[in-house]
Protein backbone atom coordinates (compact mmCIF):
# COMPACT_ATOMS: atom_id res chain seq x y z
CA UNK A 1 0.00 0.00 0.00
CA UNK A 2 1.69 3.10 -1.22
CA UNK A 3 -0.95 5.48 0.11
CA UNK A 4 0.00 6.85 3.45
CA UNK A 5 -2.46 7.60 6.18
CA UNK A 6 -1.83 11.22 5.65
CA UNK A 7 -2.86 11.07 2.02
CA UNK A 8 -5.97 9.19 2.98
CA UNK A 9 -6.88 11.81 5.49
CA UNK A 10 -6.34 14.47 2.89
CA UNK A 11 -8.51 12.63 0.43
CA UNK A 12 -11.52 12.30 2.70
CA UNK A 13 -11.29 15.82 4.03
CA UNK A 14 -11.16 17.59 0.70
CA UNK A 15 -12.78 15.30 -1.84
CA UNK A 16 -13.63 18.04 -4.34
CA UNK A 17 -10.25 19.58 -4.52
CA UNK A 18 -8.64 16.25 -5.10
CA UNK A 19 -11.01 15.50 -7.92
CA UNK A 20 -9.82 18.55 -9.82
CA UNK A 21 -10.81 20.44 -12.89
CA UNK A 22 -13.18 18.00 -14.60
CA UNK A 23 -15.43 17.85 -11.61
CA UNK A 24 -15.58 21.62 -11.54
CA UNK A 25 -16.81 21.66 -15.11
CA UNK A 26 -19.39 19.01 -14.24
CA UNK A 27 -20.53 21.16 -11.36
CA UNK A 28 -20.78 24.27 -13.50
CA UNK A 29 -22.68 22.61 -16.31
CA UNK A 30 -24.89 20.95 -13.72
CA UNK A 31 -25.70 24.34 -12.38
CA UNK A 32 -26.18 25.71 -15.86
CA UNK A 33 -28.59 22.90 -16.62
CA UNK A 34 -30.54 23.73 -13.50
CA UNK A 35 -30.88 27.35 -14.56
CA UNK A 36 -31.93 26.39 -18.06
CA UNK A 37 -34.63 24.08 -16.75
CA UNK A 38 -35.85 26.68 -14.31
CA UNK A 39 -35.98 29.43 -16.87
CA UNK A 40 -37.72 27.40 -19.55
CA UNK A 41 -40.17 26.17 -16.96
CA UNK A 42 -40.79 29.67 -15.69
CA UNK A 43 -41.58 30.87 -19.19
CA UNK A 44 -44.11 28.11 -19.70
CA UNK A 45 -45.66 28.68 -16.32
CA UNK A 46 -46.07 32.40 -16.60
CA UNK A 47 -47.07 32.69 -20.25
CA UNK A 48 -50.84 33.09 -19.72
CA UNK A 49 -50.33 35.59 -16.94
CA UNK A 50 -47.93 37.60 -19.04
CA UNK A 51 -50.41 37.57 -21.89
CA UNK A 52 -53.09 38.77 -19.49
CA UNK A 53 -50.95 41.71 -18.47
CA UNK A 54 -50.22 42.51 -22.07
CA UNK A 55 -53.89 42.23 -22.99
CA UNK A 56 -54.84 44.56 -20.18
CA UNK A 57 -52.93 47.29 -21.99
CA UNK A 58 -54.51 46.56 -25.35
CA UNK A 59 -57.79 47.85 -26.69
CA UNK A 60 -60.50 45.25 -26.89
CA UNK A 61 -60.23 45.09 -30.65
CA UNK A 62 -56.61 43.89 -30.47
CA UNK A 63 -56.87 41.49 -27.59
CA UNK A 64 -58.03 38.49 -29.53
CA UNK A 65 -55.67 38.71 -32.44
CA UNK A 66 -54.77 35.29 -33.61
CA UNK A 67 -52.05 34.30 -32.86
CA UNK A 68 -52.08 36.23 -29.57
CA UNK A 69 -49.99 39.38 -29.52
CA UNK A 70 -47.52 39.48 -26.69
CA UNK A 71 -46.52 43.09 -27.06
CA UNK A 72 -49.34 45.66 -27.27
CA UNK A 73 -49.61 47.24 -30.69
CA UNK A 74 -51.76 50.08 -29.45
CA UNK A 75 -50.80 50.59 -25.86
CA UNK A 76 -53.65 52.00 -23.82
CA UNK A 77 -54.44 52.70 -20.20
CA UNK A 78 -58.14 53.00 -20.89
CA UNK A 79 -58.95 49.54 -19.56
CA UNK A 80 -57.53 50.39 -16.19
CA UNK A 81 -59.22 53.76 -16.19
CA UNK A 82 -62.59 52.21 -16.97
CA UNK A 83 -62.16 49.54 -14.38
CA UNK A 84 -61.07 51.89 -11.62
CA UNK A 85 -63.81 54.35 -12.49
CA UNK A 86 -66.56 51.88 -11.86
CA UNK A 87 -68.28 52.41 -8.56
CA UNK A 88 -67.22 50.41 -5.55
CA UNK A 89 -63.93 48.90 -6.71
CA UNK A 90 -62.09 49.91 -3.58
CA UNK A 91 -64.86 48.37 -1.53
CA UNK A 92 -64.42 45.05 -3.35
CA UNK A 93 -60.74 44.92 -2.48
CA UNK A 94 -61.43 45.93 1.08
CA UNK A 95 -64.04 43.21 1.52
CA UNK A 96 -61.81 40.56 0.03
CA UNK A 97 -58.96 41.69 2.25
CA UNK A 98 -61.07 41.66 5.39
CA UNK A 99 -62.29 38.18 4.71
CA UNK A 100 -58.94 36.76 3.65
CA UNK A 101 -56.93 38.25 6.51
CA UNK A 102 -59.47 37.21 9.10
CA UNK A 103 -59.63 33.68 7.84
CA UNK A 104 -55.86 33.33 7.64
CA UNK A 105 -55.39 34.76 11.12
CA UNK A 106 -57.99 32.48 12.65
CA UNK A 107 -56.90 29.41 10.78
CA UNK A 108 -53.23 29.73 11.54
CA UNK A 109 -54.05 29.68 15.22
CA UNK A 110 -56.83 27.10 15.35
CA UNK A 111 -55.31 24.72 12.84
CA UNK A 112 -51.94 24.58 14.52
CA UNK A 113 -53.48 24.18 17.93
CA UNK A 114 -55.52 21.19 16.86
CA UNK A 115 -52.63 19.74 14.88
CA UNK A 116 -50.36 19.87 17.87
CA UNK A 117 -52.65 17.54 19.76
CA UNK A 118 -52.65 15.06 16.93
CA UNK A 119 -48.94 15.24 16.39
CA UNK A 120 -47.52 15.30 19.84
CA UNK A 121 -50.14 14.40 22.37
CA UNK A 122 -51.57 11.11 23.36
CA UNK A 123 -55.21 10.97 24.29
CA UNK A 124 -58.05 8.52 23.91
CA UNK A 125 -59.63 8.58 20.52
CA UNK A 126 -56.82 10.52 18.88
CA UNK A 127 -56.41 8.36 15.81
CA UNK A 128 -60.09 7.67 15.43
CA UNK A 129 -60.94 11.35 15.53
CA UNK A 130 -58.20 12.11 13.03
CA UNK A 131 -59.41 9.55 10.56
CA UNK A 132 -62.93 10.82 11.04
CA UNK A 133 -61.74 14.34 10.29
CA UNK A 134 -60.03 13.14 7.13
CA UNK A 135 -63.21 11.37 6.20
CA UNK A 136 -65.14 14.61 6.18
CA UNK A 137 -62.76 15.91 3.51
CA UNK A 138 -63.68 13.13 1.18
CA UNK A 139 -67.31 13.98 0.71
CA UNK A 140 -67.71 15.95 -2.51
CA UNK A 141 -68.36 19.58 -1.71
CA UNK A 142 -71.19 20.08 -4.14
CA UNK A 143 -73.68 18.41 -1.79
CA UNK A 144 -72.86 20.90 0.94
CA UNK A 145 -73.80 24.02 -0.97
CA UNK A 146 -77.52 24.11 -0.37
CA UNK A 147 -77.52 22.74 3.21
CA UNK A 148 -74.80 25.16 4.31
CA UNK A 149 -76.71 28.02 2.73
CA UNK A 150 -79.79 27.06 4.71
CA UNK A 151 -77.79 26.77 7.93
CA UNK A 152 -76.26 30.19 7.45
CA UNK A 153 -79.71 31.56 6.92
CA UNK A 154 -80.93 30.19 10.24
CA UNK A 155 -78.16 31.14 12.64
CA UNK A 156 -80.04 32.32 15.73
CA UNK A 157 -79.89 35.91 16.89
CA UNK A 158 -78.12 37.28 13.85
CA UNK A 159 -79.47 39.13 10.83
CA UNK A 160 -82.91 39.50 12.30
CA UNK A 161 -83.35 35.95 13.46
CA UNK A 162 -85.03 35.05 16.70
CA UNK A 163 -83.55 32.52 19.09
CA UNK A 164 -84.79 29.67 16.96
CA UNK A 165 -83.13 31.10 13.90
CA UNK A 166 -86.28 32.13 12.10
CA UNK A 167 -87.48 35.26 10.49
CA UNK A 168 -84.35 36.90 9.19
CA UNK A 169 -81.41 36.04 7.06
CA UNK A 170 -78.92 34.94 9.70
CA UNK A 171 -75.36 35.10 8.50
CA UNK A 172 -76.32 35.33 4.85
CA UNK A 173 -75.21 38.48 3.16
CA UNK A 174 -72.61 39.24 5.80
CA UNK A 175 -68.86 39.08 6.00
CA UNK A 176 -69.04 37.10 9.23
CA UNK A 177 -70.89 34.44 7.30
CA UNK A 178 -67.90 34.08 5.03
CA UNK A 179 -65.30 34.22 7.77
CA UNK A 180 -66.43 32.10 10.68
CA UNK A 181 -67.34 28.90 8.85
CA UNK A 182 -63.79 28.95 7.44
CA UNK A 183 -62.12 29.65 10.76
CA UNK A 184 -60.78 26.11 10.95
CA UNK A 185 -59.72 23.90 8.11
CA UNK A 186 -59.05 20.21 8.23
CA UNK A 187 -56.56 20.57 5.37
CA UNK A 188 -54.61 22.97 7.53
CA UNK A 189 -54.80 20.78 10.58
CA UNK A 190 -53.61 17.86 8.51
CA UNK A 191 -50.62 19.75 7.13
CA UNK A 192 -49.55 21.16 10.47
CA UNK A 193 -49.78 17.70 11.97
CA UNK A 194 -47.54 16.21 9.31
CA UNK A 195 -45.06 18.99 9.82
CA UNK A 196 -45.08 18.87 13.59
CA UNK A 197 -44.39 15.18 13.54
CA UNK A 198 -40.86 16.10 12.61
CA UNK A 199 -40.33 17.91 15.85
CA UNK A 200 -38.22 15.63 17.99
CA UNK A 201 -40.25 14.01 20.74
CA UNK A 202 -37.42 14.51 23.16
CA UNK A 203 -37.91 18.23 23.07
CA UNK A 204 -41.54 17.95 23.93
CA UNK A 205 -41.01 15.37 26.63
CA UNK A 206 -38.27 17.44 28.18
CA UNK A 207 -40.62 20.38 28.42
CA UNK A 208 -43.30 18.22 29.94
CA UNK A 209 -40.94 16.93 32.54
CA UNK A 210 -40.06 20.50 33.32
CA UNK A 211 -43.72 21.02 34.14
CA UNK A 212 -44.81 23.21 31.24
CA UNK A 213 -48.52 23.21 30.37
CA UNK A 214 -49.53 21.75 27.02
CA UNK A 215 -50.54 25.14 25.76
CA UNK A 216 -47.19 26.57 26.68
CA UNK A 217 -45.39 23.76 24.91
CA UNK A 218 -47.51 24.44 21.86
CA UNK A 219 -47.03 28.16 22.01
CA UNK A 220 -43.34 28.28 22.79
CA UNK A 221 -41.95 25.17 21.16
CA UNK A 222 -44.16 23.59 18.56
CA UNK A 223 -45.50 26.74 16.93
CA UNK A 224 -42.24 28.66 16.54
CA UNK A 225 -40.66 25.59 15.02
CA UNK A 226 -43.49 25.31 12.52
CA UNK A 227 -42.70 28.50 10.68
CA UNK A 228 -42.69 26.91 7.22
CA UNK A 229 -46.01 25.17 7.89
CA UNK A 230 -47.42 28.46 9.02
CA UNK A 231 -46.21 30.12 5.88
CA UNK A 232 -47.77 27.36 3.83
CA UNK A 233 -51.10 27.71 5.62
CA UNK A 234 -51.03 31.46 5.18
CA UNK A 235 -50.20 31.31 1.48
CA UNK A 236 -52.60 28.58 0.49
CA UNK A 237 -55.48 29.79 2.61
CA UNK A 238 -55.07 33.34 1.44
CA UNK A 239 -54.89 32.26 -2.20
CA UNK A 240 -57.87 29.99 -1.94
CA UNK A 241 -59.92 32.52 -0.07
CA UNK A 242 -59.03 35.48 -2.27
CA UNK A 243 -59.89 33.51 -5.40
CA UNK A 244 -63.01 31.84 -4.04
CA UNK A 245 -65.98 32.68 -6.15
CA UNK A 246 -68.86 30.28 -5.90
CA UNK A 247 -69.53 30.17 -2.18
CA UNK A 248 -69.28 33.94 -1.60
CA UNK A 249 -71.41 34.34 -4.69
CA UNK A 250 -74.20 32.28 -3.14
CA UNK A 251 -73.98 33.97 0.23
CA UNK A 252 -73.65 37.62 -0.77
CA UNK A 253 -76.30 39.70 -2.50
CA UNK A 254 -75.61 43.13 -1.07
CA UNK A 255 -73.44 45.11 -3.51
CA UNK A 256 -71.62 46.71 -0.58
CA UNK A 257 -70.26 43.35 0.44
CA UNK A 258 -69.00 42.21 -2.92
CA UNK A 259 -65.58 40.67 -3.11
CA UNK A 260 -63.16 41.17 -5.95
CA UNK A 261 -64.11 37.90 -7.63
CA UNK A 262 -67.80 38.71 -7.44
CA UNK A 263 -67.18 42.10 -8.91
CA UNK A 264 -65.11 40.74 -11.78
CA UNK A 265 -67.71 38.09 -12.55
CA UNK A 266 -70.25 40.78 -13.27
CA UNK A 267 -68.25 41.74 -16.33
CA UNK A 268 -68.38 38.20 -17.61
CA UNK A 269 -71.71 38.07 -19.41
CA UNK A 270 -72.39 35.13 -21.68
CA UNK A 271 -71.23 36.09 -25.18
CA UNK A 272 -70.90 39.75 -24.16
CA UNK A 273 -68.00 39.73 -21.75
CA UNK A 274 -66.39 43.09 -21.18
CA UNK A 275 -62.91 41.70 -21.73
CA UNK A 276 -61.11 44.99 -21.37
CA UNK A 277 -62.31 45.47 -17.83
CA UNK A 278 -61.92 41.79 -17.02
CA UNK A 279 -58.26 41.84 -18.04
CA UNK A 280 -57.40 45.01 -16.19
CA UNK A 281 -59.36 43.93 -13.15
CA UNK A 282 -57.82 40.47 -13.13
CA UNK A 283 -54.29 41.86 -13.22
CA UNK A 284 -55.06 44.04 -10.23
CA UNK A 285 -56.78 41.15 -8.49
CA UNK A 286 -53.75 38.88 -8.73
CA UNK A 287 -51.35 41.40 -7.23
CA UNK A 288 -52.32 41.02 -3.55
CA UNK A 289 -51.92 37.26 -3.69
CA UNK A 290 -48.50 37.57 -5.25
CA UNK A 291 -47.54 39.98 -2.53
CA UNK A 292 -48.62 37.61 0.21
CA UNK A 293 -46.71 34.81 -1.48
CA UNK A 294 -43.54 36.85 -1.73
CA UNK A 295 -43.74 37.81 1.89
CA UNK A 296 -44.44 34.40 3.32
CA UNK A 297 -42.22 32.28 1.14
CA UNK A 298 -39.28 33.79 2.96
CA UNK A 299 -40.24 31.57 5.88
CA UNK A 300 -39.40 28.47 3.96
CA UNK A 301 -36.14 28.13 5.80
CA UNK A 302 -34.95 25.31 7.93
CA UNK A 303 -36.11 25.55 11.49
CA UNK A 304 -35.96 22.14 13.00
CA UNK A 305 -32.62 20.87 14.18
CA UNK A 306 -31.67 17.90 16.23
CA UNK A 307 -29.11 19.69 18.26
CA UNK A 308 -29.17 22.78 20.35
CA UNK A 309 -32.74 22.53 21.52
CA UNK A 310 -33.63 24.85 24.35
Amino acid sequence: MAVTTQEKKYASAHPDEKAGFSKKIMNLSGQGLVYIILIVGAVLFTAPWVWMISASFQPRGDMFNWPPTWWPEHFTLKNYQNFLDAAGIARWFLNSAIIAFSVVGLQVFFNSLAAYTFAKRNFPGRDAIFIFMLGTLMIPGVVFLIPNYIILQHIPLFGGNNILGQGGHGWLDSLIGLILPSAVSVWGIFFFRQYMKSIPDEMIDAARIDGASEFRIYWQIALPLSGPALAFNAISTFTWNWNDFFWPFLVISNPQLRTVQLGLALYVVKNRTAWDQVMAGSVLATLPVLLIFLIFQKYFIRGISLTGMK
Binding site: F144, Y218, F293
Partner: protein
Protein backbone atom coordinates in the same frame (compact mmCIF):
# COMPACT_ATOMS: atom_id res chain seq x y z
CA UNK B 1 -60.63 -1.38 46.08
CA UNK B 2 -58.38 -2.02 43.18
CA UNK B 3 -55.34 0.14 42.95
CA UNK B 4 -55.86 2.34 39.92
CA UNK B 5 -52.84 2.14 37.76
CA UNK B 6 -51.56 4.52 35.18
CA UNK B 7 -50.07 1.77 33.10
CA UNK B 8 -51.33 1.65 29.59
CA UNK B 9 -53.05 -1.67 29.00
CA UNK B 10 -51.38 -4.01 26.55
CA UNK B 11 -52.47 -3.66 22.95
CA UNK B 12 -54.23 -6.58 21.44
CA UNK B 13 -57.35 -8.52 22.10
CA UNK B 14 -57.88 -7.20 25.58
CA UNK B 15 -61.10 -5.35 26.15
CA UNK B 16 -60.83 -1.59 26.61
CA UNK B 17 -60.00 -0.62 30.11
CA UNK B 18 -62.66 2.04 30.48
CA UNK B 19 -61.52 3.23 33.83
CA UNK B 20 -58.09 3.92 32.40
CA UNK B 21 -59.56 5.57 29.36
CA UNK B 22 -61.72 7.95 31.32
CA UNK B 23 -58.86 8.81 33.56
CA UNK B 24 -56.75 9.62 30.53
CA UNK B 25 -59.51 11.72 29.08
CA UNK B 26 -59.72 13.76 32.24
CA UNK B 27 -55.97 14.15 32.34
CA UNK B 28 -55.74 15.18 28.72
CA UNK B 29 -58.81 17.40 28.85
CA UNK B 30 -56.98 20.30 27.24
CA UNK B 31 -56.46 18.20 24.12
CA UNK B 32 -60.20 18.16 23.62
CA UNK B 33 -60.28 21.86 24.31
CA UNK B 34 -57.72 22.44 21.57
CA UNK B 35 -59.92 20.49 19.21
CA UNK B 36 -63.07 22.31 20.15
CA UNK B 37 -62.91 25.09 17.52
CA UNK B 38 -62.86 22.45 14.83
CA UNK B 39 -65.59 20.52 16.54
CA UNK B 40 -67.91 23.50 16.89
CA UNK B 41 -67.64 24.46 13.23
CA UNK B 42 -67.97 20.83 12.27
CA UNK B 43 -71.06 20.33 14.40
CA UNK B 44 -72.80 23.39 13.03
CA UNK B 45 -72.02 23.05 9.36
CA UNK B 46 -70.54 19.77 8.29
CA UNK B 47 -72.61 17.49 10.47
CA UNK B 48 -75.94 18.83 9.32
CA UNK B 49 -74.89 18.97 5.68
CA UNK B 50 -73.56 15.44 5.71
CA UNK B 51 -76.68 14.16 7.42
CA UNK B 52 -79.00 16.08 5.14
CA UNK B 53 -77.31 14.99 1.94
CA UNK B 54 -77.16 11.39 3.11
CA UNK B 55 -80.86 11.57 3.89
CA UNK B 56 -81.46 13.08 0.46
CA UNK B 57 -79.72 10.21 -1.25
CA UNK B 58 -82.71 8.05 -0.38
CA UNK B 59 -85.19 10.57 -1.70
CA UNK B 60 -86.01 12.62 -4.75
CA UNK B 61 -85.82 16.40 -4.61
CA UNK B 62 -86.05 18.86 -7.46
CA UNK B 63 -84.93 21.74 -5.24
CA UNK B 64 -87.67 24.05 -6.46
CA UNK B 65 -90.42 22.26 -4.63
CA UNK B 66 -90.26 21.22 -0.97
CA UNK B 67 -91.53 17.70 -1.65
CA UNK B 68 -88.92 15.02 -1.01
CA UNK B 69 -90.61 11.67 -1.58
CA UNK B 70 -88.89 8.61 -0.23
CA UNK B 71 -87.53 6.24 -2.87
CA UNK B 72 -85.47 3.85 -0.79
CA UNK B 73 -82.47 2.45 -2.60
CA UNK B 74 -83.70 3.45 -6.07
CA UNK B 75 -81.05 6.12 -6.53
CA UNK B 76 -78.26 3.70 -5.75
CA UNK B 77 -79.71 0.97 -7.92
CA UNK B 78 -80.06 3.43 -10.76
CA UNK B 79 -76.45 4.45 -10.23
CA UNK B 80 -75.19 0.94 -10.71
CA UNK B 81 -76.93 0.77 -14.07
CA UNK B 82 -75.99 4.22 -15.26
CA UNK B 83 -73.60 4.07 -18.20
CA UNK B 84 -72.83 7.76 -17.94
CA UNK B 85 -71.80 7.35 -14.33
CA UNK B 86 -69.39 4.61 -15.27
CA UNK B 87 -67.98 6.64 -18.10
CA UNK B 88 -67.39 9.65 -15.88
CA UNK B 89 -65.91 7.46 -13.19
CA UNK B 90 -63.56 5.95 -15.73
CA UNK B 91 -62.58 9.38 -16.99
CA UNK B 92 -62.00 10.58 -13.44
CA UNK B 93 -59.83 7.57 -12.59
CA UNK B 94 -57.76 8.19 -15.72
CA UNK B 95 -57.42 11.84 -14.89
CA UNK B 96 -56.42 11.10 -11.31
CA UNK B 97 -54.28 8.09 -12.07
CA UNK B 98 -52.04 10.03 -14.42
CA UNK B 99 -52.47 13.54 -13.18
CA UNK B 100 -51.62 12.98 -9.55
CA UNK B 101 -48.28 11.22 -9.97
CA UNK B 102 -47.23 13.63 -12.73
CA UNK B 103 -48.23 16.57 -10.61
CA UNK B 104 -46.40 15.32 -7.57
CA UNK B 105 -43.25 14.54 -9.52
CA UNK B 106 -43.11 17.91 -11.23
CA UNK B 107 -43.82 19.77 -8.00
CA UNK B 108 -41.16 17.81 -6.15
CA UNK B 109 -38.63 18.47 -8.87
CA UNK B 110 -39.27 22.19 -8.82
CA UNK B 111 -39.29 22.30 -5.03
CA UNK B 112 -35.96 20.50 -4.83
CA UNK B 113 -34.42 22.80 -7.39
CA UNK B 114 -35.76 25.86 -5.63
CA UNK B 115 -34.57 24.71 -2.26
CA UNK B 116 -30.95 24.93 -3.29
CA UNK B 117 -29.03 28.13 -3.41
CA UNK B 118 -29.92 29.40 -6.85
CA UNK B 119 -29.87 33.06 -7.69
CA UNK B 120 -33.32 34.55 -7.76
CA UNK B 121 -34.80 31.80 -5.63
CA UNK B 122 -37.65 33.98 -4.40
CA UNK B 123 -38.41 35.18 -7.89
CA UNK B 124 -38.49 31.71 -9.36
CA UNK B 125 -40.72 30.42 -6.58
CA UNK B 126 -43.15 33.20 -7.28
CA UNK B 127 -43.10 32.58 -11.02
CA UNK B 128 -43.89 28.91 -10.53
CA UNK B 129 -46.75 29.82 -8.27
CA UNK B 130 -48.37 32.06 -10.83
CA UNK B 131 -50.56 29.46 -12.59
CA UNK B 132 -52.31 28.95 -9.26
CA UNK B 133 -53.48 32.54 -9.26
CA UNK B 134 -54.00 33.11 -12.96
CA UNK B 135 -57.75 33.35 -13.61
CA UNK B 136 -59.04 30.26 -15.32
CA UNK B 137 -60.61 32.15 -18.23
CA UNK B 138 -57.23 33.63 -19.05
CA UNK B 139 -55.36 30.34 -18.78
CA UNK B 140 -58.00 28.75 -20.96
CA UNK B 141 -57.47 31.28 -23.76
CA UNK B 142 -53.74 30.59 -23.93
CA UNK B 143 -54.02 26.84 -23.57
CA UNK B 144 -56.70 26.67 -26.24
CA UNK B 145 -54.37 28.55 -28.51
CA UNK B 146 -51.55 26.14 -27.75
CA UNK B 147 -53.72 23.12 -28.44
CA UNK B 148 -55.32 24.47 -31.56
CA UNK B 149 -55.16 22.23 -34.60
CA UNK B 150 -54.35 24.54 -37.47
CA UNK B 151 -52.40 27.29 -35.73
CA UNK B 152 -51.58 25.97 -32.30
CA UNK B 153 -48.13 26.35 -30.84
CA UNK B 154 -47.74 22.74 -29.82
CA UNK B 155 -48.58 21.38 -33.24
CA UNK B 156 -46.30 23.96 -34.78
CA UNK B 157 -43.27 22.80 -32.84
CA UNK B 158 -44.09 19.12 -33.08
CA UNK B 159 -44.40 19.41 -36.84
CA UNK B 160 -41.23 21.43 -37.09
CA UNK B 161 -39.29 18.93 -35.03
CA UNK B 162 -40.66 16.17 -37.20
CA UNK B 163 -42.22 14.37 -34.28
CA UNK B 164 -45.59 14.27 -35.99
CA UNK B 165 -46.48 14.42 -39.66
CA UNK B 166 -49.93 15.86 -39.62
CA UNK B 167 -51.64 18.13 -37.18
CA UNK B 168 -53.13 16.66 -34.08
CA UNK B 169 -56.52 17.75 -32.86
CA UNK B 170 -55.75 17.92 -29.18
CA UNK B 171 -59.06 19.06 -27.84
CA UNK B 172 -61.29 17.70 -30.56
CA UNK B 173 -59.89 14.20 -30.69
CA UNK B 174 -61.63 11.81 -28.32
CA UNK B 175 -58.37 10.08 -27.48
CA UNK B 176 -56.19 13.14 -27.05
CA UNK B 177 -58.49 15.41 -25.11
CA UNK B 178 -57.94 13.78 -21.73
CA UNK B 179 -54.13 13.73 -21.97
CA UNK B 180 -54.25 17.37 -23.04
CA UNK B 181 -56.30 18.21 -19.98
CA UNK B 182 -54.04 16.20 -17.70
CA UNK B 183 -51.06 18.22 -18.83
CA UNK B 184 -52.92 21.46 -18.27
CA UNK B 185 -54.03 20.22 -14.85
CA UNK B 186 -50.44 19.49 -13.89
CA UNK B 187 -49.45 22.95 -15.01
CA UNK B 188 -52.19 24.50 -12.90
CA UNK B 189 -51.45 22.51 -9.77
CA UNK B 190 -47.66 22.36 -9.64
CA UNK B 191 -47.27 25.70 -7.90
CA UNK B 192 -49.56 24.80 -5.03
CA UNK B 193 -47.96 21.39 -4.51
CA UNK B 194 -44.52 22.92 -4.80
CA UNK B 195 -45.33 25.09 -1.81
CA UNK B 196 -46.29 22.03 0.19
CA UNK B 197 -42.99 20.39 -0.61
CA UNK B 198 -41.04 23.55 0.06
CA UNK B 199 -42.55 23.70 3.50
CA UNK B 200 -41.98 20.01 4.15
CA UNK B 201 -38.36 20.21 3.04
CA UNK B 202 -37.66 22.62 5.84
CA UNK B 203 -38.51 20.01 8.43
CA UNK B 204 -35.50 17.94 7.50
CA UNK B 205 -32.72 18.77 9.92
CA UNK B 206 -29.51 20.06 8.43
CA UNK B 207 -27.48 17.67 10.55
CA UNK B 208 -28.72 14.70 8.59
CA UNK B 209 -27.43 16.17 5.36
CA UNK B 210 -24.12 16.89 6.97
CA UNK B 211 -23.88 13.38 8.33
CA UNK B 212 -24.62 12.00 4.89
CA UNK B 213 -22.00 14.19 3.29
CA UNK B 214 -19.47 12.99 5.79
CA UNK B 215 -20.41 9.43 4.94
CA UNK B 216 -19.51 10.28 1.33
CA UNK B 217 -22.93 10.44 -0.20
CA UNK B 218 -23.21 12.56 -3.34
CA UNK B 219 -26.09 14.87 -4.20
CA UNK B 220 -28.24 12.21 -5.77
CA UNK B 221 -27.67 9.76 -2.94
CA UNK B 222 -28.43 12.41 -0.38
CA UNK B 223 -31.68 13.02 -2.11
CA UNK B 224 -32.59 9.35 -2.22
CA UNK B 225 -31.60 8.46 1.29
CA UNK B 226 -32.27 11.60 3.28
CA UNK B 227 -34.66 13.90 1.48
CA UNK B 228 -37.22 11.55 0.04
CA UNK B 229 -37.65 9.37 3.11
CA UNK B 230 -37.87 12.34 5.41
CA UNK B 231 -40.42 13.96 3.14
CA UNK B 232 -42.73 11.06 3.86
CA UNK B 233 -45.17 13.02 6.03
CA UNK B 234 -45.45 15.71 3.40
CA UNK B 235 -45.71 13.22 0.57
CA UNK B 236 -48.48 11.50 2.44
CA UNK B 237 -50.34 14.78 2.75
CA UNK B 238 -49.77 15.65 -0.89
CA UNK B 239 -50.96 12.26 -2.08
CA UNK B 240 -54.18 12.31 -0.12
CA UNK B 241 -55.06 15.92 -0.87
CA UNK B 242 -54.19 15.59 -4.55
CA UNK B 243 -56.41 12.59 -4.95
CA UNK B 244 -59.32 14.20 -3.15
CA UNK B 245 -59.04 17.38 -5.23
CA UNK B 246 -58.56 15.49 -8.44
CA UNK B 247 -61.72 13.53 -7.88
CA UNK B 248 -63.77 16.65 -7.43
CA UNK B 249 -62.25 19.05 -9.92
CA UNK B 250 -64.04 19.94 -13.12
CA UNK B 251 -63.76 23.67 -13.69
CA UNK B 252 -60.84 23.65 -16.11
CA UNK B 253 -62.16 20.58 -17.87
CA UNK B 254 -65.52 22.16 -18.36
CA UNK B 255 -64.12 25.35 -19.77
CA UNK B 256 -61.70 23.64 -22.16
CA UNK B 257 -63.72 20.76 -23.57
CA UNK B 258 -67.17 21.00 -22.04
CA UNK B 259 -66.90 17.33 -21.11
CA UNK B 260 -66.46 16.25 -24.72
CA UNK B 261 -65.64 15.06 -27.23
CA UNK B 262 -68.30 12.39 -26.94
CA UNK B 263 -68.22 12.56 -23.17
CA UNK B 264 -64.61 11.42 -22.98
CA UNK B 265 -63.65 14.15 -20.56
CA UNK B 266 -66.79 14.33 -18.47
CA UNK B 267 -65.64 13.77 -14.94
CA UNK B 268 -67.66 12.77 -11.97
CA UNK B 269 -67.49 16.18 -10.31
CA UNK B 270 -69.21 17.74 -13.29
CA UNK B 271 -71.68 14.90 -13.60
CA UNK B 272 -72.74 15.45 -9.99
CA UNK B 273 -73.13 19.18 -10.46
CA UNK B 274 -75.09 18.71 -13.66
CA UNK B 275 -77.40 16.13 -12.11
CA UNK B 276 -78.15 18.24 -9.08
CA UNK B 277 -78.25 21.78 -10.41
CA UNK B 278 -79.17 21.32 -14.06
CA UNK B 279 -81.35 18.26 -14.07
CA UNK B 280 -83.00 19.07 -10.75
CA UNK B 281 -82.24 15.65 -9.31
CA UNK B 282 -80.61 16.47 -6.02
CA UNK B 283 -81.41 13.08 -4.52
CA UNK B 284 -79.56 11.28 -7.27
CA UNK B 285 -76.66 13.71 -7.08
CA UNK B 286 -76.37 12.99 -3.36
CA UNK B 287 -76.25 9.27 -4.01
CA UNK B 288 -73.43 9.80 -6.49
CA UNK B 289 -71.61 11.87 -3.89
CA UNK B 290 -71.76 9.10 -1.32
CA UNK B 291 -70.58 6.44 -3.71
CA UNK B 292 -67.70 8.73 -4.58
CA UNK B 293 -66.98 9.23 -0.90
CA UNK B 294 -66.87 5.49 -0.41
CA UNK B 295 -64.39 5.11 -3.27
CA UNK B 296 -62.12 7.86 -2.01
CA UNK B 297 -62.31 6.55 1.53
CA UNK B 298 -61.26 3.08 0.48
CA UNK B 299 -58.43 4.48 -1.61
CA UNK B 300 -57.21 6.57 1.30
CA UNK B 301 -57.33 3.68 3.73
CA UNK B 302 -55.29 1.63 1.29
CA UNK B 303 -52.77 4.44 1.02
CA UNK B 304 -52.46 4.72 4.75
CA UNK B 305 -51.71 1.07 4.99
CA UNK B 306 -49.10 0.93 2.29
CA UNK B 307 -47.53 4.35 2.31
CA UNK B 308 -45.51 5.22 5.34
CA UNK B 309 -46.79 8.47 6.69
CA UNK B 310 -44.49 8.89 9.59
CA UNK B 311 -40.94 9.85 9.95
CA UNK B 312 -38.26 8.11 11.89
CA UNK B 313 -34.77 9.30 12.38
Amino acid sequence: MAISTLEKPKRGKEPINWRYTFRQMRKQWSAYLFLSPWFIIFAIFTLFSVGFSFYLSFREWNILEPAKPFVGLDNYIRLFQDAQFYQSLRNTLLFTGFGVPLGMASALLVALLLNTKVHGQSLFRTLYYIPVITPLVVSAVIWKWMYQGDYGLINYYLLKLGLIHEKLLWLADPNLAMPALIVMGVWMGTGGTMVMYLAGLQAIPEELYDAAKVDGANGFQRMMYVTIPLLAPTTFYVLITSIIFSFQSFAHIYIMTNGGPLGRTTVIGYYMYQTGFRHFEMGYASAIAYILFAIIFVLTMLQMKFVKGDVQY
